[in-house]
Amino acid sequence: MGSCKTAATIAGALALSLAGTTLAMAGDETETVATTTTREAPVPSVTQDMLSGAATDTQNNLHTNLNYEQTRYYQGKQINKSNVEGLRPAWIFQTEVKESLETTPIVVDGVMYVTTSFNHVYAIDAKTGEQFWHYKHKMGPVTTYCCGPNNRGVAIHGDKVYMGTLDAKLVALDAKTGSLIWETQIADPELGYSETMAPTAVDGKILIGTNGGEYGIRGFVRAYDAETGKQVWNFHTIPENSVGVWATHDATGKDMHRDIEAEKAALKKLGDPYKTLGGGVWQNPAVDLETKRIFFVVGNPSPDLDGSIRPGDNLYTDSLVSVDLNSGEYVCHFQYIAHDVWDLDSVSPPILVDVKDKDGKTVPGVIHAGKTGNVYVHNRDDCSLIRFSEAMVDQTGMWTLPTPEGAKMLPGANGGVEWSPMAVNPDLGLSYAVNLHQPMTYHVESSPYPGGKLWLGGAFKVIPGSEQFGNVTAVDYNTGKIKWQKKTPLPMMGGALATAGGLVFTGEGDGWFRAYDAENGDVLWSFHAGAGVNAPPAAYSVDGKEYIVVGAGGNTQIDFKRGNNIIAFTAD
């Protein structure tokens, strides 16, 4: 087995260079389904108070993006600028699945719950890397998903962990044993629905959206009862009237070259396209506990590149949306790109943070990094746009319309900022985003709704031989100015973690995992993980010792070297 060979190689290397490091790996498990319990995990009891107080909890990592605000700002300072150069692996856990890792581990009282591609879940001792249990989802025969068999993590509440699956189910597992407690079919995978996002647990509900914007779904965000799996509410991300206001310019004032008259004629002929208009939701909603409202972003319209058969603004695709936590009722939205024909949609999770408004007054804000390469800053009250940042990437040719022969435009269809979550350092007023520079041509072709099959309405094509790279960018969200930017050799996909120790952690597709100085972007530490580090990092502590953890499994979407390692680092 390739994975065992890799383990031996790493074990040898560690034995030579890393005294005190232990290596754990998944055993030779031959079952195709169900749970293997090596030993029971301590029973967690994750209360709503714990989930609500996650922002200051330096022991646990209770949310995919650290807290309900999704700041990814870890308040521990034990690992900091002065000692980060001594950061070293504490343990490496090798999963059974050597495939794309986009997961963020959840940690509760020294137990880590981490997912892999194809919906495996492992419970691991967060101090030693030893396995408690391993759940392998019994996948249905029909899965329809875009961009890799990814999973971005579990949610935890009480004594259960929750995961969405590629065959469009929501499952609840016993956190002690990994056994399946209930599962709910969310939608029909034969029609293009799948789940890769991590759910969010709040007030006894499990919140989850859906993928499928490349298959003509009608998107949604839903709440399920955490105890029973029964649906509590549903919010369609595509309203029955998806037409909107016929916006001709994007959020930054650029002309999108829409042919409004042609669209109006198409609307008259075809009707509102809402039933197959896409609008997937790729990442967790942020939760405002005070106002009991959630904020999420909605992905692209279907088909991606052909706007001729979906006239109108295609609400609420490419938008920030807020709905009521208790009822799922619409509160407000802001659309970045009306009638998108480039797939430069909204996927990176929104962050709740106080921001300066246009008058310099501090107000509750929401920030989001677009695939456009801009960071957008909103007023949380009504979703209105306060400002947008300087472009973090080259936007030459924006918005050139796709053609059958292919039209060049930047950024390419992966962004800017893809699904990768930003982190913020509220003390510095900075948000940290990872970007891609991937020149592409945009091609348009027209075809009718294909009943759940891939429906791109054309193609995005990386220009062979063109230079590709990425960057890590710090944006002052109170001014929109770029504070610092560091170029990386490969396009960036994965996400960031900021810490009170003055650091920003993020990984690269060639295997490097680095710590940056949060104030100026200097690289303070690097580790080569052997496979693409394309998962968002997290932090936690056990017995008073801090750890940084990250997955190194590469990435399917942009084809970075695959691996199967979960690596935890300490600084002593």
């Binding site: 068999p149 990386v462 399917t556 942009i558 695959r562």
Partner: protein
């Protein structure tokens, strides 16, 4: 080896037998149904004709969808259309589950020379083939395995997607239209020559 005309005739004969047999086929077990498939797809998993795809070890969801589409006419085939028209949904699931568990045969096609492989890699990266067909072109779920498939079949299908004669996946048609025609020969040779047994078994 059967000539293509004989092959089609044989299949059509089986199809008419099915049609005449009506509901009787539904009572037969999966092994018997699978014997029909062996006529063209090979008793040992090696198809009798290079224009006929390997279905042993193919991804389950993909096999199911093709049967579904042959039945509905979304994928057109004079041979497969009449055969699939006899199947109920459960039959399609059963056949897909049956064949996916079989071992993919080694067709003995040579690995592509390095210049051909480089051209194919460049084409594959340009439109992101691995985004759906995965790292080793093993496919998953409703996405087909391409690695080790007959080169001639692969070439025909890419061209059929391109000209619309295979109409059951417009996304694939769009991607093939965006690919220069000269890339199809290298792509098909490269994919046909891949041996991926050592990479299978991770995950699903």
């Amino acid at each position: 080896m059967l000539r293509i005309s004989d092959w089609a005739l044989t299949a059509a004969l089986f199809a008419s037998t099915l049609i005449m047999g009506g509901g009787a086929i539904a009572a037969e077990d999966i092994e018997q149904k699978a014997q029909l498939c062996a006529t063209c797809h090979g008793a040992d998993g090696v198809p009798v004709d290079k224009k006929t795809p390997v279905i042993w070890g193919q991804d389950e969801g993909y096999l199911y969808l093709q049967l579904r589409d042959f039945k509905s006419g979304m994928r057109k085939s004079d041979v497969m259309g009449p055969i699939a028209s006899q199947f109920e949904k459960q039959d399609m699931y059963d056949l897909a589950a049956y064949f996916t568990k079989k071992k993919w045969p080694n067709l003995g096609q040579p690995a592509a020379p390095s210049d051909v492989a480089a051209k194919a890699e460049s084409a594959a990266k340009s439109i992101g083939c691995r985004g759906c067909h995965l790292d080793n072109f093993q496919g998953d779920g409703t996405t087909a395995r391409l690695a080790g498939q007959w080169q001639e079949y692969l070439l025909n299908q890419m061209l059929a997607f391109r000209d619309g004669s295979r109409g059951n996946n417009p996304g694939m048609s769009d991607l093939m239209k965006a690919t220069p025609k000269e890339d199809f020969e290298p792509l098909s040779k490269y994919l046909a020559g891949l041996q991926i047994d050592q990479y299978l078994g991770h995950g699903r």
